[in-house]
């Protein structure tokens, strides 16, 4: 289906900037390689794209008619503006000639609203959270200029699991991005996490006989432990060790090249 595109220059256009891509890359991949930041929370290079948070939503205009697969109509059927369609940059393959809007006031407003939804459906009390300053959700909200949660708070009651000797799960802060789910399966070669329930009752569960972390095969060094973009999965008995002013997002802004790696490597190990 992409064969036709090979003949044209392999570039996509994001907000007026021509960006090269390689076959198999998503819009997000291509943007990332070119240093163009598209806000996202559930995406991390190297893991299977997920497309659930919808922060990376972009609009594609006048798409070249390359795809002819079955459900295209179903896709476009609900589109308000016939001239453009909304896709997730992290899951949509880059295709030659795509004219993409991303960093526009309208789209950033959409992203801000989605971020507000994430804040109000959980219990995101930044003031006392040890992830403050290192939290990607918080940083995305800063990036988008979010000042408040806007919507009525859901104030759900969710469980803490501190049964594991070194790792703690605080579901209040979980945003259901499933990064831990994927990291455990795809990188750690385990299957520690999953999502259960549906709708607003969806929640993170642990794959163990008791449903507790202690009975899972999770280990401190697992990627799943360190990939959480919020303060839902934490190393126990540490926190607040990096002084205010020196935390990741005290020093960096989202979208800086290489920042993703900074975030991943942040965790401090005292007993090393």
């Amino acid at each position: 289906m992409e064969a036709k595109a090979e003949t044209a220059a392999n570039t996509i256009n994001i907000d007026g900037q021509e960006i090269p891509f390689e076959h198999g890359q998503t819009i997000m991949d291509a943007a990332f390689a070119a240093g163009v930041y598209i806000p996202h929370l559930c995406h991390r290079p190297g893991l299977t794209p997920h497309g659930s948070c919808k922060l990376c939503t972009v609009d594609i205009r006048n798409r070249i008619s390359a795809s002819s697969t079955s459900d295209r109509r179903r896709q476009t059927k609900f589109t308000v503006d016939a001239d453009s369609r909304s896709v997730s940059a992290c899951t949509t393959p880059a295709a030659a000639g795509q004219q993409i809007s991303s960093n526009t006031p309208a789209l950033n407003e959409v992203r801000k609203t989605i971020t507000q939804m994430l804040f109000i459906e959980g219990n995101h009390l930044c003031p006392s959270c040890e992830k403050s300053g290192d939290c990607t959700l918080q940083a995305v909200a800063y990036h988008l200029g979010m000042l408040d949660g806007h919507f009525p708070q859901f104030f759900p009651r969710r469980e803490v699991d501190a049964s594991h000797p070194t790792v703690m799960l605080d579901r209040d802060r979980c945003i259901l991005c499933e990064l831990c789910v994927r990291a455990s399966r795809e990188v750690d070669g385990k299957n520690v996490f999953a999502i259960a329930g549906r709708g607003t009752a969806a929640h993170l569960i642990v794959n163990s006989p008791s449903g507790k972390l202690a009975d899972s095969d999770l280990e401190t060094g697992d990627m799943a432990v360190h990939i959480c973009p919020v303060g839902a999965i934490l190393i126990k008995e540490q926190g607040y060790e990096v002084p205010i002013g020196r935390r990741t997002f005290d020093l960096h802004h989202l979208g800086e090249a290489g920042l993703e790696k900074v975030v991943l490597a942040k965790t401090v190990y005292r007993d090393e």
Binding site: D71, R74, F151, A196, G197, R198
Partner: protein, 598 residues
């Protein structure tokens, strides 16, 4: 009816699960059996099932928690679910039958009575819209409810009367076909279409289906022939055919009639498809609400196997091997979405996949898969038997053939109407005896709400495409209540995968409740429009993309029904102030003036 043993020793549990798994290793089936036998699925059962089926416990647990018909806490020996649909729901005739039943049985909605005898809850539309208010008792539908019948049911439950001794006619679900057309006017002779196809050959069959102009009857309308072709061309270790019998859209019930009375046509269509794409296995994914049809469908399959229409070397054609399994869902509207259905079929939560890739290349187990609607397969079987030219004699240029409409609501003759595509709303309204109509909901809550000015519009892919739900709302209906009902439906059925739909549908539901209680203002209307537009455009799948339709349509076409409920002023609190003090009043036993807020 209800088995007596509700708590089981671990040996009993283990033995039961071993036995069940040996009959069918499909996770949903095992869970259905457990739920039926033990009235809930305990954490021990989850571990045991995971171990027998070699699945991660988390996968079993997540499935248990995802599907409405499974529960982790024990339900009653009589487990009653009343439909909350606007057509077959418990308030459809203006009386709250749910409350009546709960009061009568002294049970709270959603709770199991202390003695374990009964539990009563509500559920999304159960597809009985042509039969009035309806419920499921231990999975079996009872229709035509009214206060008298509810009282009688309560009595039978209180006396512990087994089903066999309930009035048999309660369980008869008649077809109520009101108008027959291209498909319903003649029945298919089992095997005829297949024989024609074998004569045409694979390419010929694909060509015939493509030439017919048949488009998907689920509402999306993709060319069936093209879909089959893409799948046939796609490489994979196996190809699959799936029939989507998960008609969950409130107000639609035409598949129920097809499943009950035209099963041969469905299976014939599936087998034709299997022949065309080279599939050896097919599935019919039956919605949990239609589980009662399963024995009948299994019987038809068994007969077709005997007739040589399924199994090895079908109709003697060496290498043409195909069989069909029935998998029963468990109460999740989202599973009508094709990729969510496939996930469910794989024993997982019904969460829609990212597309591309599409099922035609990466479907069941990642292999090329054709997934079509029940009605599509029926049409395909007819086309195979009678040819594409025959099919094109009816309908319009863009929408050849006929469409089955499930007509319900405020009309004299609810039921199934088969029309050539191109029929106008007005025609349908005239035929079904609808008088003094306020609005029509085409395509269910996910579809569109149409007022008088739209009655000249036609059913067809060029105008109003629909899976078949056609709900009539008379003057006496409170349209706002209908929209509240629909917004609750979507919040309940959102799978929770993507943020806009997961959070947005609940925000819309809450906002609609606020408006309905007379506590909304223009601010809330503006908010609903803004959120609605966002989730329509930014959601992951069709559910989210259509979930705001009732509200957006309502605001656009019936603004007065919202405005007349608005509170004065420009802002009202998001919560009920005085109710927020109730807990404190109870704790302190205070009821003085300062103990209240307005």
């Amino acid at each position: 009816m209800s088995p007596a043993i509700r708590t089981a020793s671990s040996e009993q549990l283990s033995a039961f699960i071993a036995n069940t798994c040996s009959k069918s290793s499909h996770l949903l089936h095992v869970l259905h059996e457990l739920q039926h036998r033990f009235l809930h699925i305990s954490p021990e059962a989850v571990i045991e099932v995971a171990s027998f089926l070699d699945l991660p416990p988390s996968q079993v647990e997540s499935a248990v928690e995802f599907y409405s018909f499974f529960s982790t806490v024990p339900h009653g020996r009589f487990d009653i679910l009343l439909s909350n649909c606007t057509s077959c729901g418990y308030t459809a005739n203006g009386q709250d039958l749910l409350q009546l039943l709960c009061d009568r049985l002294h049970v709270l909605t959603g709770k199991t009575r202390d003695d374990g005898l009964v539990s009563v809850d509500e559920t999304s539309c159960i597809g009985m819209c042509d039969h009035g208010a309806s419920l499921l008792v231990n999975g079996r539908p009872v229709t035509g409810l009214d206060a008298v019948k509810i009282m009688r049911i309560a009595e039978l439950i209180e006396t512990g009367t087994p089903f066999e001794n309930w009035p048999a006619e309660w369980f008869d679900i008649s077809d109520s076909i009101r108008k027959i057309g291209l498909l319903l006017s003649e029945d298919i002779t089992a095997g005829n279409g297949l024989r024609e196809s074998l004569m045409r050959g694979i390419d010929g069959t694909l060509e015939e289906i493509t030439q017919s102009g048949l488009r998907g009857r689920g509402g999306a309308g993709f060319s069936t022939g093209m879909k089959w072709k893409f799948c046939a061309e796609a490489e994979g270790s196996a190809h699959y055919v799936i029939c989507n019998a998960d008609e969950g859209e409130p107000g639609t019930f035409k598949d129920r009639i097809l499943l009950q009375s035209h099963a041969d046509a469905i299976f014939e269509g599936m087998t034709t498809c299997a022949y065309a794409i080279g599939a050896e296995l097919g599935f019919l994914y039956l919605r949990g609400e239609y589980r009662y049809l399963s024995p009948h469908l299994e019987a038809v399959l068994a007969r077709r196997r005997v007739q040589g229409l399924l199994g090895s070397s079908i109709l003697g054609r060496s290498g043409f091997n195909f069989d069909i399994e029935i998998v029963v869902g468990a109460g999740a509207y989202i599973c009508g979405e094709e990729s969510a259905l496939i996930e469910s079929l794989e024993g997982k939560r019904g969460v829609p996949r990212n597309r591309p890739p599409f099922p035609v290349t990466h479907g069941y187990l990642g292999q090329p898969t054709v997934l079509n609607n029940v009605e599509t397969f029926v049409a395909a079987a007819h086309i195979a038997q009678n040819g594409s030219a025959w099919f094109r004699t009816t309908g319009t240029m863009k929408s050849p053939g006929s469409k089955l409409l499930s007509v319900s609501g405020d009309c004299a003759y609810p039921g199934i109407y088969e029309y050539p595509f191109g029929v106008s709303i007005k025609q349908v309204l005239d035929d079904c005896g609808a008088e003094d109509v306020q609005a029509v909901q085409i395509g269910g809550p996910a579809g569109t709400l149409i007022g008088r000015s739209g009655y000249k519009r036609i059913i067809g892919f060029e105008d109003l495409s629909t899976g078949g739900s056609f709900m009539v709302f008379g003057r006496k209906r409170d349209l706002l209540d209908i929209i509240v009902n629909f917004s609750r439906f979507f919040a309940h059925e959102s799978c929770g995968f993507c943020t806009p739909c997961r959070v947005g549908t609940t925000l819309l539901k809450n906002a609609m409740n606020k408006i309905a209680k007379g506590q909304g203002t223009q601010y809330d209307l503006d908010e609903m429009e803004r959120i609605g537009t966002l989730i329509k455009r930014r959601s992951h799948c069709g559910l989210g993309q259509t979930a705001a339709n009732p509200i957006l349509n309502g605001l656009q076409r019936f603004p007065q029904i919202f405005r007349q409920r608005l509170a004065r002023g420009d802002f009202e609190p998001s919560f009920d102030l005085d109710a927020a003090l109730e807990e404190a009043r109870q704790i302190t036993h205070r009821d003085d003036a300062a103990a209240h807020l307005e």
